[in-house]
Amino acid sequence: MSVVRLALVGCGANAAALAQAAADSRECELAAAVDADPRAARGAARAWGGEPHAGTLRSLLDADPEGFSAVIVNTPIAAHAETASLAIAAGKHALVEAPLALAAERAAELDQQARAADVRLMAAHPLRFMPANVHVRQALDGGELGRPGMLRSHRWMPRRAAADGQRRDHGPQAPLAVREGVHDLDQACWLMGEAPAQIHAAGGAELLHVHLGFDSGAMAVCGVSTGLPPGEGYSSLTVIGSLGAAYADDHHNVQLVYRGGRPQALVADQRALSLRAQLDEFANAIQQQRDPSPSGADALAALRAAEAAQASLASGRTAHATANGYVLV
């Protein structure tokens, strides 16, 4: 199998981690680092290989259309769909930071476009690739936990990271449910094996709480916060099945550091591993000509759920699934 040559489009926040994942992967290599800011493009290329390209995906396609076969879309959220669409139109596979688009309708168009062009479209949902979460999924797939009944997740991020995310958002702002909650909703759908039939959300500017009900009778409660003080975040995942349970969280896994005062908790950072595994999945899907996980359809389902959560949050009502999407009850 040939190595997948990637163009990283958007060298702002998260670019270093993505470029490092490309450098660490045996399936991929970074061919180009693209950003309107020449310093950002040079910085990414210098650190992780590839050629810097000061410009846009369109100008890279004009300059070197055969130099890469796939694109990582790491632009501000408002430009995800447009950039991904351009890549697909040029016959390039696309790994797009989630959400695929600001609106599910546009994400659906993107998914259709990719299928028509027979290129792989994958949304970046790195929670699927966190080593702990992979083990939980394996326990479910192996039947060890029985029928899944309850999923409980918390993901808390510090304010500074959230502010960085906002700064990347030139143009329309995505609400928290779409910007961050989409990851937790994808995780819930992925682990529970179905899309939610009921969605009830609560929260505020820095807090999203989403309560899901599934047709199987299972339920999930997902909490996202972007309001921690500057520093490290926290993550917790519990899955309760009819025969057993799995607990994957920072509370169980902390190491302690004593430097005076209250001890500090130290959590092993496995994000780099998850990004590399995500990139490997993208490359393998390209090489094997199959749908990646998550596929465009998966990403669309998560985005629809996120939109329903936002509608529930705004209205105080509960979103129920219908044949044509979600309606508020």
Binding site: G149, E206, H211, A218, V221, S242, R317
Partner: protein
């Protein structure tokens, strides 16, 4: 009464039924401020109930009398400890309050909010104290309360409680066996019965009321829950006063699902910090060849939490101040549960019924 006289007051305790549990009454045994003077119950209680009552009386070193009025007249108690089947909670607690006894009552407060309202009215009319038995004196919960009330995490924005207790209840739904549900199984849902504990944590730590609830429930694990149409797994989201968000995930998740009593934790988010609390801690881990599969691997080191609850009751009785979980607070918890069960049926958020 002077403070020195108060410190010498001994309250006389009459246990009214041990149909459900004996541990509430046993918490008063050998306490310097309380004397258990008897066990009593209604004469027409079931045979197995009389048997449990006799056993409790023996454990307490006191007498059993299957006649409540006679026991009250003969033994002159100040406090009734009420732990019959839930369906009789209101009847016995109201009866005790009307006799002028302070009431300590087992969970749940009552099977419905109307019964809770009757208890509240009786207690307030009689001017007696009411304590709904709870777990708020566990060290981790007390620590969480201190941290939150000291403002260390700022203004509370969200509280999430997991209350997964890993006990079994008969035959699994996933089993090939069929179970004949025993008559002594009271057929109550786990949210209704056990929900009082985590909901009381929220009340104790944050001192906030819930106004609206969205919930899902399921009979996910056990045949007996499914046969009776009650939940062994539930999740609640509630709007709290002041705009905070609360949630509870609760379930009788089965013995193999955790090495210890269960996954019981609080996640608290504030405007300037957060807190993750494991309710069972402090605990020690013991692993030996002699352990059976059902033995817990961890053992809590605090054995005084029930004693502290009784200490606090004595303080409340002395001072006339609030108990750790009053009748009105217990009623509010029952109202949250009732709204949650209604929400699980309707598929939409339901308002928590306010006192009439």
């Amino acid at each position: 009464m002077s403070s020195s006289e108060t410190s010498r007051t001994t309250y006389r305790v009459l246990a009214l039924s041990a149909a459900k549990h004996d541990y509430v009454a046993l918490a008063f045994k050998d306490h310097p401020r309380f004397e258990v003077v008897g066990v009593a119950d209604e004469p027409d209680a079931a045979g197995w109930v009389h048997e449990r009552n006799r056993r409790l009386a023996s454990d307490l070193g006191t007498a059993y009398e299957p006649d409540i009025d006679a026991a009250i007249a003969r033994r002159a108690p100040n406090v009734a400890v009420v732990s019959p089947e839930a369906a009789r909670h209101a009847r016995l607690s109201v009866r005790a309050a009307q006799a002028g006894l302070h009431v300590v009552q087992d969970k749940p407060m009552a099977p419905n909010v109307a019964d809770c309202d009757a208890i509240v009215a009786a207690v307030e009319r009689a001017g007696v104290q009411f304590l709904l038995w709870n777990r708020n004196t566990h060290p981790a919960i007390e620590d969480a309360r201190r941290i939150v009330q000291a403002g260390e995490i700022g203004e509370p924005r969200a509280v999430h409680v997991d209350f997964f207790f890993c006990k079994d209840a008969g035959v699994l739904l996933d089993s090939d066996e069929d179970e004949d549900v025993p008559d002594s199984w009271l057929g109550e849902g786990e949210l209704r019965v056990e929900g009082i504990y985590p909901l009381a944590y929220i009340r104790h730590v944050l001192n906030l009321d819930a106004t609206r609830v969205f919930a899902r429930t399921a009979s996910h694990f056990f045949q007996r829950h499914a046969a009776r149409g009650v939940e062994d797994l539930a999740s609640l989201t509630f709007d709290l006063a002041g705009g905070a968000v609360g949630s509870l995930c609760i379930g009788r998740i089965g013995r193999p699902s955790h090495p210890n009593l269960g996954e019981i934790r609080l996640h608290l988010l504030g405007s300037s910090g957060s807190l993750v609390v494991a309710e069972p801690r402090p605990e020690i881990a013991v692993y030996t060849r002699g352990l059976a599969p059902d033995d817990f691997r961890n053992r809590r080191t605090d054995t005084e939490h029930d004693r502290r609850q009784v200490d606090l009751l004595a303080e409340a009785l002395d001072s006339g101040g609030d108990t750790l979980l009053t009748a009105r607070q217990g009623r509010h918890i029952a109202a949250i549960v009732e709204a949650a069960l209604a929400s699980a049926r309707s598929g939409r958020a339901e308002a928590v019924p306010r006192p009439s």
